[in-house]
Amino acid sequence: MQVSFFKKNFFTVIERSIVDENLIAIEKKEILQAYDFSAWKLTANSKLTQIPSLSERENKMCELKKKHNSPFGICVTTADDVKIASKYASFLYIPGEFCRQADVLAEAKNAQIPLVVEKGVFLAPNDIKRLCEKIQGADFCLVECGSANGYSDSILDPRSLMLMQQNSSCFGISLSDLLSPEGTHYAHRPQWLGNHEFMKAFIKTGKAFQASFYVTKNNAHDQFNAEQILEMVR
């Protein structure tokens, strides 16, 4: 039996980075990079309307592949993205909003490349197994991003962690999503933003459920960076 990519490659953190023109390959020990080539998610006061497709950024991907010595991932949001990204990436990263999109998941599975799939904040723990059924046979791991709890809030539900443990060979926890759901920035609870104690609590919970890694976004507001997370995990 083939050993999972996620077991073979020792890492503790996946860092999500948005690619700009000046990007150079980011390589850090114990940290896997997942690159986002398009700012696909609408945030407040966005003015960007001409969004280059992945095919338009193929040169950049090719350049990245040449420069990277360690494995790296590419964020995909459509079936077409999967076809292009799988030529260059070591793994594909599927954001939670797309965890039910049949075409994206089917194409990702067919690409026969390791997959990191986030659980959408709207998905009940019991539906994790439905998500896994859609990519059955692929080498995949899941990421817990919290569960929506009213507006502008998400919670870490241990029932999700238990089901992730049961349904995938390994799983991680997205600390960025738990500490600052995008587009909200905890307007009503600013003291929660990037709270050090919460961060520790999430990591401890992750350890209790044998989470294999943590996810952070290097563009998020008031966040800890990947090295700081690594330090806390140790």
Binding site: I51, A79, D80, R100, V121, F122, P125, A148, S154, T184
Partner: protein, 279 residues
């Protein structure tokens, strides 16, 4: 009937002579999935006739590709080629505008060939590429509010479409908010909040009663609650009401627990007229 100017100076016209309006809300109704040509014809004819009788403007809604079913075993529908052909025939036969949902930028461009309203599903409501592609078609763009998003975040979506993409023909839809797992509640404050800056707001009556994922591999729902939620939404004030109607809901290939029978839909339309008279 044109009675309001919406954000971006839009007069609310969906297609020639069909307008959004709080006085006579636009009814967006039809089967969840375009299972067969016959089902489409039957529902379009029935709903068009009932709406005409009650002087309510009408748009035929359906999906030819359900791309985000709960389970991998879920049926997806006839697909674009067959589905768009059937919709063309329905449009020709009954003279009704068409509403279709899309899941990718290329689907949005494709759907514009037949649709008068392009709908962005709730899960994808913040996907910038999809919003920009849909807006570029010049069609009316209807965006469902994500089950986890606040009204404030939806105002950002509307602002992006109107100000950055240059398409003022935007409708925001309330369809319920996660209330724990497998349950949605409708926060009627959203109907008020999303109208800020003059946005058009529609209430999705049949998805709002869904119990997501509660049906062992599919969504369940509380169909009996639909009339009550519609009453409240119309009383608060909406520019349209969205509902899924099937000739035989129990046998429907999707959303069987929430789609309405034609009779139930007719009673709701009558209710809407009564509430409008009262408020």
């Amino acid at each position: 009937m044109q009675n309001k100017i919406y954000a971006g100076n839009w007069d609310g016209e969906i297609c020639k002579g069909v307008y959004l309006s709080e006085q006579r809300p636009l009814i967006m109704a039809g089967p969840c999935m375009l299972e067969t040509r016959e089902l489409g014809f039957e529902m379009a004819e029935f709903l068009k006739n009932k709406c005409s009788k009650m002087n309510l403007p009408y748009v035929f809604k359906t999906s030819y590709d359900k791309a985000n079913r709960t389970s991998s075993n879920g049926v997806r529908g006839p697909g674009f080629e067959k589905g768009s052909q059937w919709l063309r025939e329905i449009k020709e036969e009954f003279g009704v505008p068409i509403l279709i949902d899309v899941h990718t930028p290329s689907e949005a461009i494709q759907a514009a060939q037949i649709a008068d309203i392009i709908q962005i599903p709730a899960f994808l409501c913040q996907q910038r590429e999809l919003l920009a592609a849909a807006a570029s078609t010049g069609k009316t763009i209807q965006v469902k509010k994500g089950q986890w998003t606040s009204a404030q975040e939806m105002l950002e979506v509307a602002k992006y479409l109107v100000e950055q993409c240059g398409n003022p023909k935007v409708i925001l839809v309330e369809r319920g908010t996660n209330f724990g797992y497998n349950n949605l509640v409708v926060d009627f404050r959203n109907l008020v909040d999303m109208k800020k800056f003059g946005n058009a707001v529609v209430f999705d009556a049949t998805h709002a009663v869904q119990l997501p994922g509660a049906g062992d591999g599919k969504s369940s729902g509380l169909r009996d609650m639909v009339p009550h939620l519609v009453k409240a939404a119309v009383a608060v004030g909406v520019d349209g009401v969205f509902m899924e109607v099937h000739s035989n809901p129990a046998q429907a290939l999707s959303d069987a627990d929430t789609q309405l029978s034609p009779k139930a839909a007719e009673l709701i339309l009558e209710d809407i007229c009564r509430i409008l008279e009262r408020v």
